[in-house]
């Protein structure tokens, strides 16, 4: 129910009066003028207000950037949060805050910022890369690959090509770390096409190709690197290893010899060189050797296989089963009297059969009898090479 309070200080007791037509336009004009004045005053205030907030935001942001660069993530996070108070939608503020949170290992919070930023700028390289890293940490392989690919084709500040290359390299390392070698190889091939002649980069790619077990591309990459830096020890060692894996022992020997010459402390290359030289010496099927040399190699290999069988007859531990060896040992013992210089000369097929038995012995014993000796290792490599041929 509507009541009129008598004691109410209603200024106008003439509410019921009709409006004075003559006064209304004047009043409206006055109100409009007042409105303009009010508007101008608020515009002035607004400029001052926004300028102050912008300055405060920038101040906090620059402090945050300094702390982020100094890896003082905690302070950086607080400062970026403060900056965001004054400009909640600022992309850079949010991105830097996310990076500070990543530095603090608060990936959950960082992720929420990054996802929002991604919605705003899905083509941003930094955002995609950070999201990819978080997804990789969370073992979300598909998402990680998607964000990495986004980042590779994204817009980057500064040297765009370099950023894209680095991102692809990171993706390859990620793929290799989760044993997705085929995808890593595909990425490496794409990377190599856009790599140019930088020997360091070619070496890096060669190394990744090695990890991906793509030895041909690895050798090609190292060779490109060696064209410019002929004496680079890492490239020589890498090329030697790739050639060794490819069964190109002569080539491997050359590279590895050069690698060891460049860096005598490179034990791995020295080891590989030794193996390579053993292979070259022990291989009865290599081209250009005399019959006598071939027979000598066959007899040596046969003797080594026999030693391997006899050492394997006593298992070296509970995990080393001796199954299968008795048959091989019988075959070896049966064939042993025939493997002589005279028999090998008289029967040219004998060398082939003897080496088949040797390879079989080395294969089975390598699976069951622990680490092979250098000579056994060389025979295994020869067997692989022979099978390949």
């Amino acid at each position: 129910m509507v009541e009129l309070h008598e004691d109410m200080p209603i200024t106008d007791r003439r509410l019921g009066l009709r409006l004075s037509i003559k006064q209304q336009p004047v009043m409206l004009a006055l109100v409009a003028a007042l409105g303009v004045l009010f508007f101008l005053a608020v515009a002035g205030l607004s400029r001052a207000y926004h300028a102050q907030r912008e300055a405060l935001g920038e101040r906090w942001f620059s402090r945050g950037v300094a702390d982020l660069n100094g890896k003082r993530y905690d302070s950086a996070m607080t400062e970026f949060r403060s900056a965001l108070l004054y400009s909640p939608d600022n992309f850079d503020y949010q991105l830097n805050l996310a990076e500070a949170l990543i530095g603090l290992k608060r990936t959950g919070e960082a992720y929420s910022y990054l996802v929002n930023l991604w919605e705003e700028q899905p083509e941003n390289g930094v955002v995609n890369l950070e999201l990819a890293r978080i997804a990789a940490q969370r073992k979300q392989t598909e998402q990680a690959q998607r964000y990495y690919h986004n980042a590779i084709y994204a817009v980057w500040p500064g040297n765009q090509e370099e950023k894209r290359r680095e991102t692809r390299l990171e993706l390859i390392e990620y793929l290799l770390s989760i044993n997705l070698r085929a995808q890593a190889q595909a990425e490496l091939i794409a990377l190599q096409e856009n790599l140019g002649d930088d020997p360091a980069q070619q070496r890096r790619v060669g190394e990744l190709f090695l990890q991906a077990q793509d030895y041909e591309h690895a050798l090609a990459a190292y060779r490109l690197s060696l064209k410019i830096e002929r004496h680079n020890e890492a490239a020589l060692a890498g090329a030697g290893r790739a050639a060794l894996e490819l069964g190109q022992y002569s080539l491997a020997e050359r590279y590895l010899q050069a690698a060891v010459a460049e860096n005598p402390n490179d034990a791995q290359s020295a080891e590989r060189l030794k193996t390579t030289q053993l292979v070259l010496r022990m291989d009865p099927f290599r081209h250009g050797i005399s019959v006598a040399e071939r027979d000598r190699a066959v007899m040596e290999a046969f003797a080594i296989a026999g030693q391997r069988l006899s050492s394997c007859a006593t298992p070296k531990g509970p995990n080393v089963p001796a199954t299968g060896q008795p048959n091989l040992a019988d075959s070896w013992a049966k064939m042993k009297p025939t493997v002589s210089r005279q028999e090998l000369r008289r029967n040219p097929d004998l060398a082939e059969r003897a080496m088949d038995l040797v390879f079989e012995v080395e294969r089975q014993t390598s699976a069951n009898c622990g680490t092979p000796s250098e000579a056994d290792q060389a025979l295994l490599l020869i067997s692989q090479s022979h099978e390949g041929n």
């Binding site: 019921g16 409006l19 205030l45 400062e79 403060s82 909640p88």
Partner: protein, 591 residues
């Protein structure tokens, strides 16, 4: 001599218009033109735009004042020093108490009820001093971290500006009564950056009815204030809304659970306020100087203990909750702490609004419930932002009891129509629970605690409406045939207890009394058909679905009114008389 004929004057006469107005083209006199333009209804529309502009500017200044208050009272950083956390709200509370007690006594509270009181009690009068007081005290309170929001004060500032302009323009009493809601809509629209929600809220909670006369003004003022506000503060909504989606309808169950939790939380919040407010008011007068300070100290302690998000309106925290930056456990704690903080801020008499805290509690609760549901059912697709948004609507519906506004507010703020189903489901459940557990809405309880008897919009909405069908009775033995003779009809009416009867005519209905039938027989007209002898040819009829008050217009002139089907007016559904109507009203009043 024949008189001279003015064809234009003739046209004016035929249209019942002054001759000047009926002239075609631009023949109007300047006076008539002015009079036409400044007809009060048109003038009111023009004034509404000015009200919107002024309210928008005032709200922009209010937002600046809150921003500066926060800056100078609490500091510029996100992490606040413990000294400031504890001292700023406490000392500012003391200043606010002095201002409210001695300078601006009408600035207490949120402002919604004061605007309603202006409409229903004070003929649209709100002292301008109240607006100034509200502006200063609420800016200080919110800026210093009191757990209150700027929306309701903005609403009152807008209403106050409108009231002052209306007085200066010497509007009629009717217009003056309506002017406060016009300003209120402008203030709320600018504060929320949501004109539709503001218009709906004012219609739903302040005016209580849809009226073409006021709707245009309310819309114009709301739109103009939002335009002005956006010029200075940008068009971004209060929150940055993340992607919102509902992939499977079965997920509505998850939102229904949110509706239940929100409904219960609304009741707890509401009961807290309605219980503690009178108790605080009943404390000795000297304590009122310290109540806002104590509330401020409590909030400072909460912030110092690790939840600074509860300070102020809390939009930044709502934004963070929407983007999934808190764990569900922390969100639940924030919701509970905000209830406590807002409860003490409000009941201490600190000026400030309830909208923002309500939205805060809803957002936190929504995101917490969503987060917990995700732990139990990881396949749910709703993002924390979706749950937070729906949660806001839930608390708005459950606590403020504005169901329509709650739905449109979420739609307007999110700009995403796909969220409508979860919002409707959750809001309805929350509203029903809140209505069931606490029958009187919070604003109505507060007005009653203040000794005012303002109409309850909720009660008005839910008030039962009687229809004709509720009062009509069957027409057995009360219908006579116009084709039969008067004598044949007398045989029918003589044994009946009733005195009045309906007569079915080929084209409608008429009525006749027993006495009239007897008189016709006595006059020797017993052999004539009854239809040919009726004094009243046709009487009006009603339909069962019409409001019972419609029947009142007829039953005093016609003792028996037919109630007929809308499909066939000759099909009689029943009859109704004045006694039937009054009897039904009496029964309704007793029930």
């Amino acid at each position: 001599m024949a008189p001279e004929v003015n064809p234009q004057a003739g046209l004016a006469e035929s249209l019942n218009l002054p001759a000047a107005e009926a002239r075609p083209g631009n023949g109007r006199s300047p006076k008539a033109l002015l009079k036409s333009v400044f007809r009060e209804d048109r003038f009111f529309l023009i004034l509404s735009v000015f009200i919107g502009v002024f309210s928008g500017l005032a709200v922009v200044c209010f937002r600046f004042a809150i921003g500066w208050g926060r800056l100078y009272l609490l500091g510029t950083g996100a992490v606040l020093s413990p000294t400031r956390l504890l001292l700023a709200p406490t000392l500012t509370g003391l200043v606010i108490a002095v201002l409210v007690i001695h300078v601006f006594p009408l600035a207490r509270g949120s402002g919604v009820n004061q605007t309603k009181a202006a409409l229903y009690i004070y003929n649209g009068y709100i002292p301008f001093r109240t607006a100034i007081g509200k502006f200063i005290t609420a800016a200080l309170a919110i800026g210093s971290g009191q757990s209150l929001g700027p929306e309701d004060p903005s609403l009152q500032i807008g209403a106050s500006i409108a009231s002052m302009m209306g007085r200066r323009m010497r509007l009629s009493r009717d217009r003056m009564r309506l002017i406060a809601p016009v300003g209120a809509a402008a203030g709320l629209a600018a504060a929320f950056n949501a004109p539709i929600s503001a218009v709906l809220f004012v219609i739903e909670e302040v005016i209580g009815r849809w009226s073409a006369g006021i709707l245009g003004s309310v819309v114009l003022s709301a739109v103009s204030s939002v335009v002005v506000m956006r010029l200075f503060l940008g068009s971004e909504s209060l929150f940055r809304i993340p992607a919102v989606q509902l992939e499977r309808p079965s997920e509505l169950i998850a939102y229904a659970i949110l509706g239940i939790v929100g409904g219960v939380a609304s009741v707890v919040f509401s009961l807290g306020i309605t219980t503690f407010r009178p108790k605080f008011k009943a404390l000795p007068r000297w304590t009122q100087y310290f109540q806002p300070a104590l509330a401020g100290l409590l909030i400072g302690i909460i912030a110092w203990l690790g939840a600074p998000q509860v300070m102020g309106a809390g939009y930044e925290a709502m934004d963070e909750a929407m983007h999934g930056r808190f764990t569900w456990q922390f969100l639940a704690i924030l919701a509970a702490l905000k209830i406590v903080a807002t409860l003490f801020s409000f009941v201490s008499g600190t000026p400030g609004g309830m909208f923002a805290p309500t939205l805060f509690i809803g957002a936190m609760l929504g995101a917490a419930v969503g987060g917990a549901e995700h732990v139990v059912l990881p396949h749910l697709t709703g993002s924390p932002g979706t749950y937070a948004l729906v949660g806001m609507g839930v608390l708005f519906a459950g606590f403020l009891r504005a169901p329509m506004t709650s739905v449109f507010m979420v739609l307007e703020v999110s700009g995403n129509y796909s969220i409508i189903l979860p919002v409707i489901v959750a809001n309805t459940i929350a509203y029903v629970i809140s209505r069931g557990l606490q029958p009187i809405a919070i604003f109505d309880v507060l007005t009653r605690q203040d000794g005012l008897e303002l109409p309850s919009m909720e009660e008005q909405r839910e008030e039962g409406v009687l229809h004709v069908e509720d009062a009509m009775r069957t027409a057995d033995g009360l219908v006579l045939d116009a084709q039969e003779t008067v004598e044949q009809n007398l045989v029918k009416v003589e044994p009946a207890k009733e005195e009045e009867f309906l007569v079915r005519l080929p084209s409608g209905w008429s009525s006749v009394s027993k006495q009239q039938v007897r008189a016709l027989v006595d006059a020797g007209k017993g052999g004539a058909s009854l239809g040919s002898q009726l004094a009243i040819r046709e009487i009006p009829f009603l339909h069962p679905d019409l409001a019972l008050e419609t029947a009142l217009r007829y039953v005093d002139r016609w003792p028996l009114v037919p109630v007929v089907s809308r499909a066939d007016v000759r099909h009689l559904e029943g009859v109704i008389s004045q006694r039937d109507v009054l009897e039904r009203y009496r029964e309704f009043g007793e029930s």
